[in-house]
Symmetry: C2
Subunit: 337 residues, 2 copies
Amino acid sequence: MRDKKKRASITDVAKRAKVSITTVSRVINSVTTVSSRNRAKVEEAIAYYKFKPNVNAQRLATGVNNAIGLVIPGYPGIFYSFYAIELIRGVGHACETLRLDLVFHISNANNPINTHNVGGVIFADIIENHTHVEHLVHMGIPCVIINNKVKDLDVGYIAIDNYSGGKQAAEYLFGLGHKKIATITGTLTTQAALERFNGFKEYLDQQGVLLPDEYIYKGDYSRRCARLAAEEFFGRQDPPTAVFAASDEMALELIAYLLEQGYKVPDDVSVIGFDDNPACLYGPVGLTTIRQPLFEMADESVRALHAILQGKSKKQKHKVLIPDLVIRESCAPHTKA
Amino acid sequence: MRDKKKRASITDVAKRAKVSITTVSRVINSVTTVSSRNRAKVEEAIAYYKFKPNVNAQRLATGVNNAIGLVIPGYPGIFYSFYAIELIRGVGHACETLRLDLVFHISNANNPINTHNVGGVIFADIIENHTHVEHLVHMGIPCVIINNKVKDLDVGYIAIDNYSGGKQAAEYLFGLGHKKIATITGTLTTQAALERFNGFKEYLDQQGVLLPDEYIYKGDYSRRCARLAAEEFFGRQDPPTAVFAASDEMALELIAYLLEQGYKVPDDVSVIGFDDNPACLYGPVGLTTIRQPLFEMADESVRALHAILQGKSKKQKHKVLIPDLVIRESCAPHTKA
DNA sequence: CTGAAAGCGCTAACAA
DNA sequence: TTGTTAGCGCTTTCAG
């Protein structure tokens, strides 16, 4: 809408302070070459009008755009995942401290989003969005992808080594003497979940431990699927003695099921999760898990983009963080037979 | 940053199409008075350059700003609440369909946020932000507050009747024959949690049911506090037979505790929540709760703001939705003694 | 149906 | 240290 009572412009301020608009611009932008006398006058006028520079005009004039877009995949349930929440939190926080505008986009395959008017874009994930990223790259808009090592495009990425994470989980369980190990995977169409699973499976393979199909439940990070997996694993005659869940949420639901059924955790069944979701700290059993530094990843990605926007960096940053094992109480050595 | 390879501008398109920029502007804005011949030429040129109009220039020229800000209070844990997530989801969704830019702000008392460059602002809550809202109102920026009936400022609000919600919970439990009823409240510094508590308490008062201090745990919506409350309520010699938790999350943690301790839900203890958080559908016991239409509230608030931005509406909208009881399995009639 | 020209509010040479 | 001036990319009268 047109502002009824137009907001004061730089011209109004300049008039009242009896200086040129350039001088006003200078004090707005903290340029030092302004006499303290003039500065005072300008500041008075700014205060008088409660003047705020028009950001659109600034952006148009400078060509710099201090806004970044965050694209979150829009599939149902995404907002209930620790993953997405941590990223939003991390990106939001970083933007607030760097004084960047955060423009939020929920992507949706059939409703291509408009990430114009931002200086750069962060993708929380790249599912269904590859062509979108391509397009932005083509337009010269810098992109940073979180948790997906995109090598075929000129974009930055900040990921974690999911393969290592899965492997660490397997290693820990195996080291505890478990042989009958099951897993509930994440959404295997994502690179992250797939690598996590591969790291897990391949380590076990190398140790000569069989991971039969009945011990693999292809999940989607939801509590619901964790319960279904639990029913499947522990409904059969030869249940596993340890389970690796690809997210803490799933691990928690699994533990809840186990306790309901009268199993003891970790005495009867060891459970290891993935994420290090603090919401899982207050459950009945402290959850052993693989810590994924989501918040830091988000933070890093904003900083990477910021560096590019400021022209401080010209090349895209690629970074892979290593997740680590957090031992609490949900896993125990396998003793029986 | 300055774009290295500058994006094509309207001038480039005009040149290639051999028309004036005015004509290009017309096709961009779907003005009908353009010959189909010219339209075709312009469209070709637009496609050729993959031209996107510069939003800053558009906003500067028209004075309309199709971006809205969403302010989320920044206290720890906010991002783990169903409340905030639903609002973000709802606002995000509405913005996507209305083609508004959503600028996301995490407010923080000591770091006043910059909600400039938006046409209007939605506050997910108003804690610590009253002066901020005041300031925006003064600047002529329309604001809509969610879940807080602000009457002393010219702002819109979309809220739910929390008093009624609390009352309904009490009514249901009382109707089931319970007399020893406890409650875990939300953060009582918020209007919403306070009204919810008042509705609950006053109904019980009216029925002559005592709500002693030992049966009131002042919580903060976290699972952690729910567990502490549970330990307090059920650690004493005279535990309640029913509990109203001001959020489903807390109700769920309470139930988890109860099951761990060998209580049966709802046979030994009835539990009612608040929210209708779908994440609570897959627990061991279907949760009876008071449904709070957060998503709709968010949606409504965006539409209200949008109407104002479009000039279709001039007066601020005030709306109070009524929450409703959703009966599942976590409450049972009180039979004993 | 089309185009020339005047801004929108601000920044950034360039002069003074 | 200051001001003049020319844009940034687009919309919008207003003539034609």
